[in-house]
Symmetry: C2
Subunit: 399 residues, 2 copies
């Protein structure tokens, strides 16, 4: 369980297979985001149809609504959202630090205000583990302190040190939970914060914990964080966090290039929150295996569709009588069934089906892109393939 | 083509088979409404999955957006919305008379203001035929003058007389179109009102025209309208319009009972705009074969689900940790896959998937209800079955 096998490499790029309790995952792999326990507009059947292999859900969102106790009582997150494939939950760290409004960080944890009811809540490394344990995803993520893209070295070091101290506590609590330790009273936590579900609702599948590398845009900190993280435990995967949070794009690529030679070759590497098509290609070239991003669904709902010739806005009047599919190369239900003219009509007329059809296509687009990269790795042809893909994707002509 | 065969009867209730260019339709049959060329939130694959046999689309809405010329250029309504089963288009009469804002009725037709761009437009009986011909549905409806449920006899007679005069013009124009007559210049119409599509985009399947009975809540007028309509031509079906427009429910049942013995037994009977479960059952008992209504999708989007024990509001806090399916008797994707607790979460969290899952279930509920009525007719058991169904559906306990 949680084994990762490298099937082929091409430069720094890798094709691998990750074994998880709910199934095997071929990498590179794009993971659609189901923030509130649903990938917006898509059903589990849709997700299977577009070839999704891992789905991500947000611990913070599910904790505040409906609450991990409700999810656990309804059989855990897999049963709750009717997704029987692998699941990954983030730790809530990123969400808590992106929240508007009240938030107080101490070494103990973070006190924050729920975006749903405005109530004060506390998230600690231990609590983040317990919530994720109750949700029952295949992969849980460590609770980290995320700083904005432009944070200076002092701020970034402080957050990195805290992330590492929290990681140790996460690992300790996760070990206890995995060993059958009970979810008990925590220092400073109020009884109302604690899950009330009986142990019979705890996950029956094993769960693994992945650490998250922080360090902002500072190469020295990133390498130090990696060194100290690797020294801490025998991990089954490793994530790079705190990028794609407002820093310029070359910084993202630089950080990946800095880390790449030093990352343990045998662990799957997950670049958090990254998933515009051009970033996915660039990150695979720099040795990343797993990705997640809300872009395909969020942009889809806004009427933007990914195509091999670059993104298009479906509301464009040029599509009014266009009988062609959105993307003639695509095999998704949207492209196999509907004309651009019809899709444009759905958006112009405010029809909900349009939101789903573009979300469906965009997720399929990223999954096919990752599959194509995997094939290129196996042919040891990533550099040439990526070059050609970029030339077509970034051309300025309208398709 | 357009044949209707009665397979069985039970009292006034009938089970039949209607042959249409795009397929056979077993009756009683509930037709979901795709106002703007899409049954809100549902894909054609969803419609097939819930067993939809005929889909209704709105001439008025498609005329103002995207325009019948666009639909015709994109291959006609079947191809446009990717629905290869039978389609019925209403005439626009009901919509024009339900519009807020400017509207002027003369014997020539109706001048009205588009709800999309505020522009003045004219709909005449001839134009309603041409638009529906361009859309290419299997069944077109006559352009009628609808009055509110409480209209007095004078107002109702005036509208009925106009409806009958318009029916003659509809039939004339439809005969011309069906005989290959070209869509040409109309008296009083502006060139910009006319479809610009070449004849090659005209439907390649035959289309039939059904008349609509008016007469408000006045039995005498209803019978007169029926008599004069039947005398006018050799129809393939007949619709009852202008009910379910604000009149008390007993009026609807009275009018059906008044008409039932006099309706031609060999024609399929379509009760327009009716489709709450209890109305569908009552109307089948009174000899109706076809129904349409936005209730299943509109109520579904509002979080109301039909169940054999009556409608439930999925947002109800009682469902928070309810692991049961919405309707244990139902075979739809929603009931086969998700718990009430999860569906409630989707609605409380404002997730779009919830709108679709409840719409899907509600449409399936009405289609299964019509199927169950058909089976009861074939067993000559409608009265007892309907009695029992009503007892359960109208009970006041929460399920």
């Amino acid at each position: 369980m949680f084994d990762f096998r490298i099937d082929a490499t091409s430069g720094a790029a890798r094709a691998g297979t990750l074994m998880l309790p709910h199934g095997a995952v071929e990498t590179p792999c794009f993971m659609p985001v189901g923030t509130q326990g649903t990938v917006r507009t898509l059903s589990p059947a849709d997700l299977r149809a577009v070839g999704a292999r891992v789905v991500l859900a947000n611990t913070y969102h599910l904790h505040v609504r409906p609450g991990e106790d409700v999810v656990a009582k309804l059989g855990g997150l897999h049963r709750f959202m009717a997704w029987d494939g692998p699941l990954l939950t983030d730790s809530g760290g990123f969400q808590v630090f992106s929240l508007e409004g009240f938030r107080r960080v101490t070494d103990a944890g973070v006190e924050f205000q729920s975006h749903v009811d405005g109530g004060r809540r506390v998230l600690t490394p231990e609590r983040a583990m317990e919530i994720q344990w109750a949700l029952g995803a295949d992969i849980a993520m460590a609770f980290d302190h995320v700083v904005p893209g432009g944070a200076d070295e002092g701020v970034a070091r402080d957050a990195m040190d805290r992330t590492l101290a929290w990681l140790e506590r996460c690992a300790g609590r996760h070990r206890e939970l995995a060993g059958g330790g009970k979810v008990g009273m925590l220092e400073g936590a109020q009884p109302s914060d604690l899950p009330a579900f009986p142990p019979s609702h705890l996950p029956t599948f094993p769960q693994t914990l992945w650490p998250i590398l922080q360090g902002g845009a500072h190469a020295g900190l990133r390498l130090e964080c990696l060194r100290r993280t690797v020294a801490l435990a025998d991990w089954t995967g490793i994530a790079v966090g705190g990028l794609s949070v407002g820093e310029p794009k070359p910084v993202l690529y630089d950080m990946l290039e800095t880390l790449q030679p030093h990352l343990p070759g045998t662990l799957p590497r997950y670049l958090m929150g990254v998933g515009f098509p051009e970033d996915l290609v660039a990150a695979v070239e720099r040795g990343v295996d797993l990705f997640d991003c809300v872009a395909p669904t969020r942009n889809g709902r806004n009427g933007q569709a990914f195509t091999p010739d670059g993104p298009v806005s479906i509301r464009n009047a040029a599509f009014r009588e266009d009988a062609r599919p959105l993307d003639p190369d695509c095999d998704c239900e949207t492209c196999a069934t509907f004309s651009r003219g019809y899709l444009r009509h759905l958006f112009v007329a405010g029809e909900l089906l349009g939101l789903r059809l573009l979300s469906l296509h965009n997720v399929r687009f990223l999954i096919r892109l990752a599959d194509a990269l995997r094939a290129a790795v196996r042919r040891d042809d990533v550099t040439r393939w990526a070059e050609e893909w970029r030339r077509r994707y970034t051309q300025t002509e309208t398709p």
